[in-house]
């Protein structure tokens, strides 16, 4: 009699498709996945502990290094939380600039998503094109704050520098070219039948499952649940802008991909409106040189490209935070990995891992 056995396969911590140093322990029956367990912590850098020894201002560069492909959104989230804690009012202009930069960074982050999905699925050229176009956004950021990835642009109380007309031109030009870039990705990847066959109907995550697991961000919206903090808990100046929240239907890999592609054009819409409506005024509020927020506790969330970024800050009235805890969306989203992988093939694991889009800096903190 023929007997089959399951076997263990450890994917990672160094594996081309785990987006860093995630380890996934797969139990396989042939090529079929029986069980999958994510093991993280290979990039645990103890940021929360380090922050306790630094002042509120000095913590800022560390938030850059959490979700390193969308540092602006992390800066934004952190500053928003601290400002709420210290009751600082932000000038209108600074809020607009923040929104513009956060949305640009969201586009850049989603481009990395498209690129890494393409390379995981075997289309190397599909990775190079989004990376090539992402350089345009990085150029804008480089012009703005002199760094390509770790910006520290959004500061407590406002932003670091004003937009020059050259930067406005660069953004306008980028936005004008964006539709043709998206067309190119659509022609190369989205329309490709092999690509569609790989993504459609695989790794289903129902809306109810996603809701119960606390999934947030595009992954939740791909499962058909309309929940976007930019609309459902508007912060900064998002309520001034018209935009829609793209939703998926089935919650399969295809929906997770399409939702993100659509979000790129929605973000572009927001940027366009914000650029047109930048009010005059200050770019920073008056913030004391040494910030000592009142004793208290705050939990504040914003919508990052991967979901709900939350900062829980405990202040004891001194210049250094007593305790900071960060809710990292990728960390929580990874809980869905087993549901996404179970019963599918090894080839689908790779795709599912890509569409969760975890950034290990954020997962491991």
């Amino acid at each position: 009699m023929i007997k089959t056995e399951t076997y263990q396969l450890s994917m990672g911590p160094v594996h081309p498709s785990t987006h860093g140093v995630l380890q996934v322990l797969l139990t396989l029956d042939g090529e079929k996945v029986v069980d999958s367990v994510p093991c993280m912590g290979y990039l645990h850098r103890g940021i929360e502990k380090l922050m306790e020894a630094r002042t509120y201002f000095q913590c800022l560069p560390y938030t850059d290094r959490l979700d390193y492909v969308s540092a602006m959104n992390n800066n934004f989230s952190y500053c928003h939380a601290v400002e709420k804690l210290a009751a600082i009012d932000i000038p209108e202009k600074a809020q607009y600039l923040r929104v513009i930069m956060a949305e640009l960074n969201r586009i850049a982050s989603h481009m990395i998503f498209i690129g890494s999905l393409a390379v995981d699925i075997g289309a190397t050229t599909g990775m190079i094109y989004p990376f090539r176009d992402r350089e345009r956004i990085l150029d804008i950021f480089n012009e703005l704050c002199g760094a390509r990835m770790t910006y520290s642009y959004i500061r407590i109380g406002g932003v670091r520098s004003d937009l020059s007309s050259a930067i406005v031109d660069m953004i306008n030009k980028f936005l004008a070219d964006l539709p043709s870039m998206l067309d190119e990705y659509n022609n190369l990847l989205t329309g490709n039948e092999i690509f569609q066959h790989r993504l459609k109907g695989t790794s289903l995550l129902s809306g109810e499952q996603a809701r119960r697991l606390g999934i947030t961000g595009p992954m939740l919206r791909a499962s058909g649940i309309d929940y976007d903090l930019r609309k459902d808990n508007t912060y900064s100046s998002y309520d001034n802008f018209e935009f829609s929240v793209p939703l998926g239907k089935n919650g399969d890999n295809w929906d997770r991909y399409i939702v993100r592609v659509k979000e790129i054009s929605e973000s572009a819409k927001i940027i366009r409106q914000a650029l047109d409506g930048i009010p005059d005024g200050q770019i920073t509020a008056k913030v004391p040189k040494v910030l000592r927020p009142p004793k208290g506790e705050i939990y504040d969330t914003t919508e990052g490209p991967r979901g709900e970024v939350g900062y829980h800050i405990v202040s004891d009235g001194s210049a250094k935070p007593y305790r900071i805890h960060i809710r990292r969306p990728s960390f929580i989203n990874l809980q869905a990995l087993n549901i996404l992988c179970k019963g599918y093939l090894v080839g689908d694991v790779v795709v599912a891992m890509s569409t969760i889009d975890p950034i290990l800096g954020e997962v491991d903190c």
């Binding site: 081309p16 075997g122 289309a123 490709n192 092999i194 066959h197 790989r198 080839g347 694991v349």
Partner: protein
Amino acid sequence: MHEGLLVNLTVFLTRIAEFIFGNIFIAQLFIVLLEIVVIFAVISLAVIIQVYMERRICGLIQDRFGPNRVGPFGLLQTVADMIKLMSKEDIVPAKAEKLLWGITPMLLFIPAALVYAVFPFDNGVIFADIGIGIFFVIAVMSQGVLLFLLGGYASENKYSFMGAMRAVAQMLSSEIPIAFSILAIVMMTGSLRMSDIVSAQSGIWFIAVQPLAFIIFIIAMLMETNRTPFDLVEGEAEIIAGPFTEYSGMRWALFFLAEYTNLLAAAILTVTLFLGGWQGPFLPGISWFILKVFAVIFVFMWIRWTFPRTRIDQMMALSWKVLLPLALFNIMATGIGIYIYKWIY
């Protein structure tokens, strides 16, 4: 019919050798050995050119330049890579089946090079114009997979083993559509001999007569040579490097060479079966042959750098549920066509 440039050269060399050795038998043996050396040199050169081509095409498609620093236009890049691979440390994994593991890369080159025996490079330039030429090619080409299996098994690595299993599944699914699509051509020529197939295309190439067979053949050939969209055997993102995961240095280079030798063989086969072989106006046969072969290789590379990878079950479904019925239908249509043709004339 023997009028090609290379044929005359061979005849001339044989005369000289006969004059030197004073014995026709030894002279012919010498010439055969010389021919083997030449064909190996040509294959190696072609492989080096292909690797360079691949990297340049990949670069150009991706809006960048690709290797252009080492030597003029980066032409020496592959040479540098090969020399480096030769100078690397030879690591044998402690848990590998040492004998099997060691001989696999060497054996792999045999089926890859053997098929070249029956390819007509020019008018009359063919090493063995055997009566079962095309059958021989199909039979020998599929031997390569055995060595993939051997290498994957002997490495004692799960990724390698998965790759080996995939290689076997893939070979089984690709061989049958290839055989059936070629059958339609064999029906038209009435011969398995390669030179007959080429000369049957002196009027019209088979790509025009048998477009369906051509498409099936190209898709199945992509499977056979493990290239995207069917590079499941070494799907980087999934199973690291498949059966080659544990191989390093020169041993890995042999796998690499065999892969490109197979690609070249696939291109030659395509040209011979569908694109009229060495035939073409004005230029000598060999230059038409080289031109066509590299055009086909370009198409293969172009496909590789455009498409994503399929999944193993999709690849098998495509092969068994789509390509095979289509190939069978094509055979039937060809049969009817031949019958009608004979009935009219």
